[in-house]
């Protein structure tokens, strides 16, 4: 993932090292949590990579609201057994991701790999903001519904 996000291998390895050091720093806290360590680690590594990309722009791009919260808190993490269930069906779920229409796949890649906000996606792809927003949200809705179907879960209305 980092290699896809960052311009060169050395930088990707530097970010990976940084992520492992932060993992070590938080090890004690993480041990006390009920959330998935793998999900937190992926979110952390992605966040560190996006920080590098944002700092490299002129002027540096702002960090989105809530980004720090995801690294500093753990209450949003799924339980390890939920992740295990996902890992067991990963082959099928990867096929689901490949079912996304090409236009939606593109906006998802820009959002995931580059952290592009909807407005930037619209500008770069030369489309109206409303269309970029619709494509991204439709893709996420598609993945959410398919994930629920494959994993047999439905989030209860609380």
């Amino acid at each position: 993932m980092l290699r896809q996000m960052l311009p060169d291998c050395a930088l990707a390895e530097e970010v990976l090292s940084e992520a492992f050091v932060k993992l070590g720093d938080n090890a004690q806290l993480l041990r006390q949590q009920d959330g998935s360590l793998a999900v937190w680690f992926v979110a952390l590594a992605r966040q560190l990579a996006l920080d590098r990309l944002r700092r490299a722009t002129d002027p540096p791009a702002p960090t989105p609201a809530g980004a720090d919260l995801l690294v500093e808190t753990f209450s949003w993490l799924p339980r390890p057994d939920a992740l295990l269930q996902l890992e067991e069906r990963m082959g099928l779920l990867k096929k689901v991701v490949n079912q996304l229409p090409k236009s939606q796949r593109k906006v998802v890649e820009m959002a995931f790999l580059e952290g592009c906000p909807e407005a930037e996606i619209a500008t770069r792809l030369g489309m109206p903001l409303a269309r970029a927003s619709t494509e991204l949200r439709a893709a996420m809705s598609f993945l959410r519904q398919r994930l629920r179907a494959v994993l047999g879960i439905w989030t209860a209305n609380i």
């Binding site: 993932m1 291998c9 050091v21 989105p64 609201a65 993490l77």
Partner: protein, 75 residues
Amino acid sequence: MDCQHLDESYELFLLGTLPAREAVEVSEHVERGCSYCLEHLREAALTVYLLSQTVRPARLDPKLKSQVLRQVGKK
């Protein structure tokens, strides 16, 4: 708490692509421990994790593992 208007926002919040006003709202709910938002974020986190597993894997420098272990060990 009625948070259903945020149902389409959780994945985008985790990706950091949600417009600032909505992102601040989700952040506030997380900080308050809103059970609806946390439950939906846990589900959205699975979707985002799935995306991380669909990118092409890269080969890493074999020396990296020992370098990382040394760095973590120094801490």
